[in-house]
Amino acid sequence: MKTKSQSAFTLVELIMTTAAFSTLGIALLSFGWTSSRLIAKNLATNHSHEGVMSAEQRMMAAIHASGSPVKLQTCTGSTYTDFLAGTSGDTDPLTGLKISNRANGIRFWRTAGGPFQLTANTTPSSTTLTFNFAPNGVVTYVPQIGDKVWVPLVDAKLTITAINATPTSGSPNGRFTVSTPLGFTFGNTSTNITTGYFFRQAAYSVQNNELRFHPNFTGGAKNTYSIVRTGITSPKPFALIGTDPSLDMRISLEFYDSKWTARRFLGGATTLQSVISVRTQPAPVDLTE
């Protein structure tokens, strides 16, 4: 049998328990909410860091291996024009050097293939060159009109104007015509080794919050691109160090993590400033299109 005191105690106990659990629930909710915010911010920040750094590393690999200096571009998504950059008033904090005005694109000549061996003798007036494009039995590069070939032994840089024989794994010797005579006699190509490196114009651009890579920035193929990273919010991330064009590209890439970050958690925007240099020096080809 229950006593009075037991009944009263039960009511107080209920109230107190309710209050305690309410307090605990609120505390838990607050803790969870705050934790979620902090975690979301942390994740967003980490993700945005990851986003810009992975994009930067991908660009770095391409620019390091570039065969030319870097040229700024103004890109609309359909048209691409060279942007002659004057010096801005800003100083790059990493190098202490003045940076150029900014643009939303760059172009350069990426290393597309080589070294491949010259396999047919030439005279100074030769405009047709033959290379073995499959030294290991596999054709990894097929020349196209507009590509450049650099013959390092004589530092000749020539533009391919016609393809005379497309290399295949079964017939690896590819033959093409170049814009100007080579200017040299190359003899005994069966015993001498003379090499050529091949370059194809490429570009990066920022459009519609996308960092885009244009692997074949030639003619009508300029508009074909792959997306390196979405969520890029810096409209003109590209600049140069020194004169235009330059071997040193300076990027200021801002990435905003729109998926990981709710409106209230504005912690996911990251700006990465970096200078990426062309590693092959002297750069074997110039920027002439």
Binding site: E50, M53, Q57, H64, L84, P152, N192, D244, S246, T288
Partner: protein, 652 residues
């Protein structure tokens, strides 16, 4: 009193709450940790790449030092073996490059000899397989591949990033460029149209102020480019640069303007071994500062080695394997096939090759060369304010003797004929006929004596009838001023090449610089200063007014190496710029002065030292083009410079 079931409910509730909170925290921690680790992986990979790149740079410097410092002849010629190189390459110490936290090299960096196709050769005794193929056997490239592998932490354990770079030693010539400038300051301010149809290498700062300048090929510099006059030039401030007129599209390819480039080597000689007084901008301090008379700047290449007294080491003699026949030097006097020495009494002594014994005056070689030489005539050089006592060389006579085999390629292993001409007389020639040293001006057309004159100390070499050169190739070197009179290496001494007779130039299809199908032999003219006298030049007019010295179009097809007088503060002390790298003495008034060849400004003039402002001439229409034949075959007497380059960068 509570019953058991009540207590259990509370306990369950508490436990449930704790479990829920713990799970939530655990999930948060896990997600956060994983995400942090993933982001950390990217950061660590970036750090590993940067560290690996830094190590590669250190290894490159170790490799370069190892390659340039060996003395063994085979190693210098063919490159170090893998085993020899392995002892020279090591990971940088933490004092030099400290590895980031948790990032380390997988193993010591390696540099292996490779083929031109970049296939690494692993045998300890392997040397690089040379890339070759042109007519010029010294033009080779040796490849090595450096590998640096770096460990960095990932979510579970470690990962590795591997960087490979090719290191290249290439044989390059200063004549791979149309213009090679070794001086700290280079100025291009032509006052008349000037087209540079070849690459230009500026080993310092570049100044371009005039809109007449047209670079048609790649231009690189090591310092900076200024679209104005240099500060020491009296035109700055005060004279506005005209080069911005119409934009820069008419001055160079807008897609490839002059830009900073990599250093190119002049000779296979370290600049550290040279007296710095002779490598700086000013010519006012061109005096020996270290007691070594054999390292006084690149002017040494046109001087003979000093062997008496305190001389010091000759840095131009460091490599006995420069020539195909493994003899020779970078000092052109020592690398010449014949040395012609004219004494104060105008007697001629000739040495063959490296011999210290003069040729007998009855020998066929002496007779042939002596017949090609006229001594003790003079011209007035208005700029130098002196009558220049000349040694006149009839190049057509040398060609006849060389092609007939009388004159031989004694040094250089088949590179052609190099002739070194020096007048050992010094100072005033005297003023009386009785002295025997008085010099005279003769009419270039008739040979008649015009007048006797006194040279105050200027000496020179004048090249005449140089239309057709010895087939094997021909280089003339002198420590004095050299005057090229009339068309040179154009294929004829009488017929004008189209480059002289054209009424206009189309810079994409230039008139031929040779007569008919003449094939230009490789050639160079090297002197303290090099002057161009037109086809209309006559010594008799040299000391008359400019209106009596009117030129006709002239074509010079040769490489030219010379000095200048750098700009000094004060009016009229402009260097003359590269447009006056070759010096003019006539009223050209826009007539064509065509050069197909290459030019190299390597030193301050030490004899022809009067400033450009004292010159008396009217500017020609300069059309200067690079001759690619020079890349295929170097002029006699010159060697390759060994260039060390970083090649392809590959990430794995």
């Amino acid at each position: 009193m509570k019953n058991n079931s009540q207590s259990g409910s509370s306990l369950l509730a508490v436990m449930f709450t704790m479990a829920a909170v713990s799970s939530l925290v655990a999930i948060m921690l896990s997600v956060t940790a994983n995400n942090t680790r993933m982001a950390g992986r990217t950061v660590h990979r970036a750090e590993a790449l940067a560290y690996g790149d830094a190590v590669i740079e250190q290894v490159y410097e170790q490799w370069r030092q190892a390659m340039i410092s060996v003395t063994d002849a085979t190693d210098r010629r063919d490159g170090l073996t893998n085993s020899a190189l392995a002892t020279k390459i090591s990971a940088p110490t933490t004092a030099v490059i400290a590895a980031p936290t948790n990032i380390s090299l997988v193993s010591a960096p390696t540099v292996l000899a490779a083929t031109p196709l970049l296939v690494e050769l692993t045998a300890p005794s392997a040397r690089p397989a040379a890339e070759s193929g042109t007519n010029w056997t010294q033009r080779t490239r040796l490849y090595y591949v450096a590998t640096v592998a770096v460990n960095f932490p990932v979510m579970r354990g470690m990962s590795t990033v591997t960087i490979k770079r090719s290191f290249v030693r290439s044989g390059r010539s200063i004549f791979d460029n149309f213009y090679f400038g070794a001086q700290p300051v280079t100025e291009f301010h032509p006052g008349a149209p000037m087209y540079i149809g070849g690459t230009a290498y500026i080993g310092g700062d570049l100044y371009t102020a005039h809109d007449f300048l047209h670079f048609q090929k790649d231009v690189t510099f090591l310092g900076t480019q200024t679209m104005d006059y240099r500060v020491a030039d009296s035109r700055r401030p005060g004279t506005a640069p005209t080069i911005p007129t119409n934009g820069f599209g008419d001055n160079w390819d807008i897609n490839n303007p002059p830009h900073r480039g990599s250093e190119q080597k002049l000779l296979d000689v370290s600049t550290n071994l040279m007296d710095p007084n002779f490598l700086d901008d000013s010519s006012l301090n061109d005096t020996d500062s270290d007691g070594n008379k054999n390292n006084d700047g690149y002017h040494e290449i046109i001087e003979e080695k000093v062997t008496s007294g305190t001389t010091g080491t000759d840095p131009l003699q460091i490599d006995p394997y420069l020539n195909d026949d493994q003899t020779g030097s970078e000092r052109l006097s020592a690398n010449s096939d014949y040395r012609v020495v004219v004494a104060a009494d105008n007697s001629v002594t000739i040495y063959a090759g490296t011999s210290a014994t003069p040729l007998a005056s009855t020998s066929a070689e002496y007779v042939a060369l002596k017949a090609a030489i006229t001594t003790n005539t003079a011209i007035k050089d208005v700029r130098d304010a002196d009558y220049v006592k000349l040694v006149v060389l009839d190049v057509s006579s040398v060609k006849t003797s060389s092609d007939a085999g009388t004159l031989k390629d004694r040094v250089g292993g088949g590179d052609g004929i190099t002739l070194y001409i020096k007048d050992t007389s010094s100072g005033n020639t005297g003023t009386t006929v009785a002295s025997g040293n008085q010099t005279k001006i003769v009419n270039s057309s008739t040979g008649a004596l015009v007048k006797t004159v006194t040279s105050g100390g200027a000496r020179g070499v004048k090249l005449v009838k140089g239309g057709v050169l010895p087939t094997a190739g021909f280089t003339v070197v002198s420590p004095h001023s050299v005057y090229i009179a009339g068309d040179y290496n154009t294929g004829s001494n009488t017929v004008q090449p189209p480059s002289n007779t054209a009424s206009s130039y189309n810079n994409n299809a230039n008139p031929s610089p040779v007569v008919g199908s003449y094939v230009r032999p490789p050639s160079s003219v090297v002197g303290d200063a090099v002057n161009i006298l037109s086809n209309a030049w006559n010594d008799a007019n040299s000391d008359l007014a400019l209106t009596s010295r009117v030129s006709t179009p002239t074509t010079i097809n040769t490489a030219i190496v010379a000095g200048n007088v750098p700009t000094r503060t004060g009016s009229g002390n402009y260097s003359g710029g590269i447009e006056n790298f070759v010096r003019f003495h006539e009223k050209w008034a826009g007539k064509y002065a065509t050069i197909y060849g290459a030019t190299a400004l390597l030193y301050d003039s030490e004899e022809a030292t009067q400033p450009w402002g004292a010159a008396s001439y009217g500017a020609p229409d300069r059309h200067w083009y690079y001759d690619p034949l020079l890349s295929d075959r170097n002029p006699p007497g010159f060697h390759v410079a060994r260039i060390y380059e970083r090649g392809r960068w590959v990430l794995r």
